[in-house]
């Protein structure tokens, strides 16, 4: 018997039974409250905390099962021990009714004190263990959600655009937290480091490893001189950090790639990770970049591993190339027949998708296409990243707009200037500006209200098509669903105000957008929204640079 104190509520209309219980449990670790009627019992239960209830099956006009029903409205799991008299009451119907409830027990009224105490302790122990487990899992859930938020914050924005390249990625944890890691680090002089890794496991441990590795990469960037940025050097440093500083029992496959756009060159090395795919516009096909038998073992396997310079793979980039990296979660996607994604299928899909992708992110198009042909069972985390040179041309402009109204104002002004300078059609330029202003502000109000800052953004492309057409394409990410969000309390007045604002701006915006655009098309690709507007001008024009 333990020294824990139990708060017990005993309910019996036979007062003698209550007196007897009081006598039995006196001088033991029990605080006993007695009630001789159901109404008083429910009232007591609602106002005090109890660990267990001892309940007579027959309580005058109301039976114990009715009382249990009332109690269960307030507490689904508190143990209830039914006390009734001897074998003749143990008929199957009674046992069935008691067993209807997982947390109900039975004790014969001719109990021995030892049996009574053991029954109470057993019931309370199960109840407390379950309550503790429930509390533990609730806290674990909060921790997991927080770890996922940390993981999201550590990821680069879903889309990055600079004067050299456009990078987008799709990151899809199979459970809440992914074991995949991704980082994009600007090294200076037009060089960028792409780090893609698959850490063993999926849980909080993965998120912690990921945050450590990404912090290490950023520290490494400050420490290393530019000439030293070679994939093998970086892998060696990461391996040392992984094996010595993290001293974990884990490991990761990873790929380190350095893009040098001024020199149109790519150098990378794989440490047990899938290689890179090139979607070549020039060759009009997608293919795996040949690594020969180069590459090393996963990071973390051996502290003494040395990643060699001769294992770095060099590749000359063509301006139209789209380079795709991925974790093996992509090829582990399964269909109903348990078939995984074979490489020829992957390459064939990419070949057909790249034809229609002037700037649409292949990771999303690919994932969506695989989903459509039945590869929708996700047994592992999926991460797909693409890097491409910025599409150039006098007739189009591509811009990434951060989720702030100030950025939208500056962006649409820029678009106005682009259209006006090339078409000399002031009215057309104004219509483009107005449409984008309304739509982008709507996206910010509606979809991105909970994702402030620079973690996300809206990618906008304007394409001029002679003699009179402007195509405006907007890509934005869907907000995460409410149920997945980390629940933080908010002021109710604030919530109402935001809803009112959103409703007010939505109606007005939509009317304006419909007036300006003769055709609106919207598509969804696994969390990415593509909205395309067609605007025709009253007068034909020809593009002037």
């Amino acid at each position: 018997m333990t020294n824990q104190t139990y708060n017990v509520l005993a309910v019996d209309d036979e007062k003698f039974s209550l007196v007897l219980l009081q006598s039995c449990l006196r001088n033991e670790n029990y605080n006993l409250t007695t009630c001789d009627n159901a109404l008083q019992a429910v009232k007591e239960f609602k106002t005090h905390d109890f660990d267990v209830i001892l309940l007579d099956v027959m309580l005058g006009s109301i039976d114990g099962f009715e009382v249990r029903k009332l109690i269960r409205e307030y507490n689904q799991k508190i143990p209830i021990i039914f006390l009734t008299s001897l074998l003749d009451d143990i008929n199957s119907s009674l046992i069935n009714r008691i067993s209807d409830d997982q947390y109900s027990y039975y004790l014969n009224k001719s109990f021995q004190k030892k049996q009574l105490m053991e029954k109470i302790e057993h019931a309370v122990r199960v109840y407390r263990e379950e309550s503790d487990a429930a509390r533990f899992y609730k806290q674990l859930n909060v921790d997991l959600l927080l770890a996922r938020e940390v993981q999201r914050v550590l990821l680069p924005p879903w889309c990055s655009l600079n004067k050299h390249m456009l990078t987008t990625y799709l990151y899809e944890p199979c459970f809440r937290i992914s074991g995949d890691s991704l980082d994009l680090v600007e090294l200076g002089s037009g060089k960028y480091l792409l780090f893609l890794a698959d850490i063993a496991g999926h849980g909080i441990q993965s998120a912690l490893y990921m945050s450590a590795i990404q912090s290490f990469l950023k520290a490494l960037r400050l420490e290393m001189v530019e000439q030293a940025w070679l994939p093998n050097v970086i892998l060696n440093r990461i391996n040392q950090f992984f094996c010595n500083d993290l001293s974990g029992g884990s490991y990761m496959t990873c790929l380190v790639a350095i893009f040098d756009y001024p020199k149109q060159r790519l150098v990378f090395q794989s440490a047990g990770h899938p290689g890179l795919i090139c979607c070549s516009r020039r060759e009009q096909r997608a293919y795996e970049i040949d690594m020969g038998d180069k590459g090393g073992v996963p990071v973390g396997w051996f502290a003494r591993t040395v990643y060699q310079e001769e294992d770095n793979v060099y590749y000359e980039l063509d301006p139209g190339d789209i380079i795709l990296g991925y974790t093996d979660g992509l090829i582990d996607l399964k269909n109903d027949r348990e078939e995984t994604v074979a490489t020829p299928l992957l390459l064939s899909l990419l070949t057909s998708l790249m034809e229609k992708s002037t700037f649409l992110p292949l990771p999303y198009l690919l994932r969506s296409a695989l989903d459509q042909i039945g590869y929708n069972i996700v047994p592992d985390d999926v991460c797909i990243v693409e890097v491409r040179g910025v599409p150039k041309g006098d007739d189009n402009i591509l811009q990434l707009i951060n989720l702030s109204k100030g950025d939208v104002s500056r962006g649409v002004e820029h678009f106005w200037r682009f259209v006006e300078e090339r078409t000399h059609d002031n009215e057309l330029a104004t219509r483009v500006e107005l449409l984008l202003s309304e739509f982008l502000n709507n996206v910010i109000e509606y979809e991105c209200a909970n994702r402030p800052g620079l973690r996300s953004g809206i990618l906008v492309q304007i394409c001029l098509r002679e003699p009179d057409t402007v195509f405006v394409t907007v890509l934005d990410r869907e907000p995460k669903s409410d149920q997945d969000k980390l629940q933080l309390s908010r002021d109710a007045a604030d919530v109402f105000e935001q809803q009112n604002k959103a409703m007010a701006s939505s109606g007005r915006g939509l009317a304006i957008i419909r007036t300006i655009s003769s055709n609106i098309m919207r598509k969804h690709f696994n969390g990415l929204n593509q909205t395309e507007f067609l605007i025709r001008s009253a007068q034909p024009w020809s593009v002037q640079s």
Binding site: D13, E14, K15, F16, S17, M58, S85, L86, D88, Q112
Partner: protein
């Protein structure tokens, strides 16, 4: 019968102080008297379901304290009344009254 009940309280309920034992037997006696009166009244007025409920409560209290003869006769009354055999119930009530008289005469 009181000696058996005393033995039951000491052995099964692990209560061995005389004060508690006397208090429990007194309390049981009071309950027995009250319920017997209630049972008689219910039967006389034809409230059979209520009478069966009282017999059930008496059966439970008797089981609690190890008063086996009372438990058995109360169980008989409860079953007879629930089965619609009022005559048998009344006959057993007679037995209960006799049993109670004996019990009340006993000293610890």
């Amino acid at each position: 019968m009181k000696a058996e009940i005393r033995q039951y309280i000491i052995e099964k309920l692990e209560l061995d102080d005389d004060e508690t034992i006397v208090m429990l037997i007194d309390s049981y006696t009071e309950s027995l008297n009250d319920n017997t009166a209630l049972l008689q009244k219910s039967l006389q007025s034809g409230h059979i379901a209520e009478a069966a409920g009282v017999a059930h409560a008496m059966k439970g209290a008797s089981a609690n304290i190890g008063a086996q003869p009372f438990f058995e006769v109360c169980r008989g009354i409860e079953y007879a009344l629930k089965g619609g055999d009022v005559a048998a119930g009344k006959k057993l009530l007679g037995e209960l009254l006799v049993l109670r008289e004996v019990f009340l005469q006993e000293t610890l």
